[in-house]
Symmetry: C3
Subunit: 328 residues, 3 copies
């Protein structure tokens, strides 16, 4: 079992200790669940009244909250981020052994760094490369002409279809599919014909991609995620979209083809972004909203409607639908 003193934790996260610097911490928890050998945290002042009941051995909190707590403490300007850095010390780590597990199927001209770890039931196609420190978990499929950067982690059952290039430290969760054909169709004599998808996918350093998320490859140019983009689960990114650095999206967002999203944006769950539009830096889109036009200025945007009791909502809808019949 790992354990750290408060002094060690303070040094690790750049914090100040109040109380017993030698107190030993063996894990982390919520205010409600942490015990006397664990560290809790208070980030949101709304939960301040829970301080009285917590059994946590010590807490991470803001200077302005410290008067409400009589135990040992680590003082942080941003307790949530400090807690995240401390919690990482207690995270159990799977031991990835470098080398190729028996049963993996690797193309003869693929290049696997000896310091990469290739799990069971993996296949890797022609001309693809896996860099040092990368971990390719069980059941992953890497197609042709892909490039997996240093210290990437493909947790399990990830697919890189073709021409997918991952920068260093990209983490991809199970079921994600990168580099599948973009959805390009042309109608010809009453029948669809497929528009070839000749581009690829480029993922910048430190990106994280959630479970069952899909990122199609571009039609002619690439689909691009700049560095440190964070995508939750079940997100769909259409071909030739570009997502700016440090943008984060909650689950189930749909981004249509050739959309260009700025840096440091926050896209709420199940929001939709239309194709061929541009969104400026630092734009917040609320959950389940639909962006149909370019957004030129940072700010918060939305179009979703909070649910109400169904009969009341039905009455509102009836009035709404009558609006276009009333005289202006």
């Amino acid at each position: 079992m790992v354990s750290y003193t408060l002094a060690e934790l303070a040094r690790h996260a750049g914090l100040e200790v109040r109380g017993d610097t030698g107190r030993s911490v063996e894990g982390v928890g919520t205010l409600a669940s942490a015990g006397p050998r664990q560290l809790g945290f208070l980030a949101n002042p709304r939960y301040r009244r829970e301080l009285a009941g917590t059994a946590a051995g010590a807490l991470v909190l803001r200077a302005e909250d410290v008067e409400h707590w009589h135990g040992d403490a680590l003082i942080a300007r941003d307790p949530y981020s400090a807690f995240a850095r401390i919690a990482a010390l207690f995270e159990p780590r799977e031991t990835a052994v470098p080398g190729i597990q028996p049963g993996a199927v690797i193309a003869p001209d693929a290049r696997i760094d000896p310091a990469a770890s290739i799990g069971p039931h993996v296949s890797i196609g022609a001309r693809s490369r896996v860099a040092a420190g990368a971990r390719i978990g069980p059941g992953c499929v890497i197609g042709e002409d892909c490039d997996v950067g240093e210290d990437c982690e493909l947790v399990a059952r990830v697919t890189l279809v073709c021409r997918v290039r991952l920068g260093p430290r990209v983490r991809i969760h199970p079921g994600a599919v990168l580099g599948a054909d973009g959805f390009g169709l042309a109608m010809h004599e009453g029948h669809w014909i497929k528009v070839p998808q000749l581009g690829g996918v480029r993922i910048g350093a430190d990106c994280e991609i959630g479970a069952n998320t899909t990122i199609d490859r571009g039609a002619l140019d690439d689909t691009v995620l700049e560095e440190d983009v964070r995508l939750d689960n079940q997100i769909q990114i259409g071909h030739n979209a570009t997502i700016g650095a440090h943008t984060a999206m909650a689950g189930c967002v749909a981004v249509a083809g050739s959309a260009k999203i700025g840096r440091y944006c926050l896209i709420g769950g199940a929001a939709g972004i239309a194709g061929h539009i541009e969104i400026a830096d630092k734009v917040v889109v609320q959950a389940m909203s639909l962006v149909t036009h370019s957004i030129r200025e940072s700010g918060t945007y939305g179009s979703s409607i909070p649910a109400r009791e169904a009969r009341a909502w039905r009455r509102t809808l009836a009035r709404l639908n009558r609006l276009d019949r009333t005289v202006d």
Copy 2:
């Protein structure tokens, strides 16, 4: 070919026969498709006029509908549920042979019951357990510290990432991912840092989880589905959510982190539930509605808008957007 008499079916499902108790039934079908050796059913009175045209050999129906049908019948208070129990007798069953298929990769300290069935291309990680009668289909990945209960079925290509515990008789469809990292991020000096996800996922007895559905593991505590929860395909359950017993969700629902949903709720397709809210027992949420606040009373709630002809809808939208400029 299996066949049952009406008397046998009546006994199995606790029903009453009208007519020839010895009539032999070899399968089930709809009113439109069932033939003379098959059993049909009438659950919804709207379809009563189809009785005249059906070729079904016998029907399951309510006592109040029986006068409209002159053939043999099984009388049920709830024909749909009775039909479901009867149809199960005719369901073809794959034969799962206990044991571990060659090519499966099992950690040395994983414990697999000899009466479990482990399919081809499966991998099972350190310290995980699979109980008797469980069936792990082709291509499933079970990570570290997971627990698969008795008679569970992981159909194929299911991933349990880590710290996932399944009660007995849980059924999980292909592509589902349980126990991936919850989406926890903190901004630190202009760059995201990952909040470690130290919790797990607990799934109660008799739950069913649809294809490509994702259930993330908790940040500090667990994400929880109580018993008999039924999730359709492509549902996203965020970390630390709790879903009460017997709740059912249609496809594509998105539940954000730390939401707490009651028992016997029905959540319509593609609905969204915001994070950190509570929903009471027996709440119905309509399709594509967004719940942003806690719901304290059972009842039906919604916020979705039925599609209309596009020009009419555009006029309504124009009026709607002008509402906030009119004097109140």
Copy 3:
């Protein structure tokens, strides 16, 4: 490196050349990215001003645009479709070797045509068939009683659960799941019971199914896609739905059970289609709209709301919710 003369390309796509018929083309690109040995195209007149800056060696464009371009050209009535057919000539092709890769697990009574190609880590269940020219990529799972038609391509990690029948030339992208249990439940004494799903899935010729899309099998009859249906990623098709020929759906659409959608429909991204309704031929549904009632006439339908600045939208919402309290 492949290369074609303009004369060869014109012959291939049925076009007319203006300028140097012997000019050699080695690839395709956008107006912005194409170089002197590449072919660009102008389909949308909005981009006409980009003609001045392009470095493309030749262009595909309409007769009415040709006066704006002084270089070599291929004249097309539909430049986008012509370009698609030409781009296909430059698409790199993976070489699929017929035969069964070592490590694939095939049921003894499955029938695999010797001219089919079965990739690594594939499993194929009892009584299933794979026709000549079909390519089953790495990690695919084909269950029992499935039928894969000639020249189908299952790119990688596709699952056909059971009773799935694919016509010729069907292409399915990674993570798609066809033939999982439809979502059928009946409440019985306070507990859900499962309604057996005895039907299958039938997919017509030339259909394309996107990554992580799910198509459930029918309860009693089949779920059906007619020929040339094109589904993007992360679409959910409920049991017993029917999709008419040549209909295309953008990503994240949800179609509930027993919906019947016509031919040549276009369904926008993340739209929802309720169960048990019918949609006529040639209906366009806008993105994120919800169709709750049958649509009898072709045309365009919608109910989505474009996002606005959040405070303005909140004011509108407040007015909207007050509508049902105002006197009519």
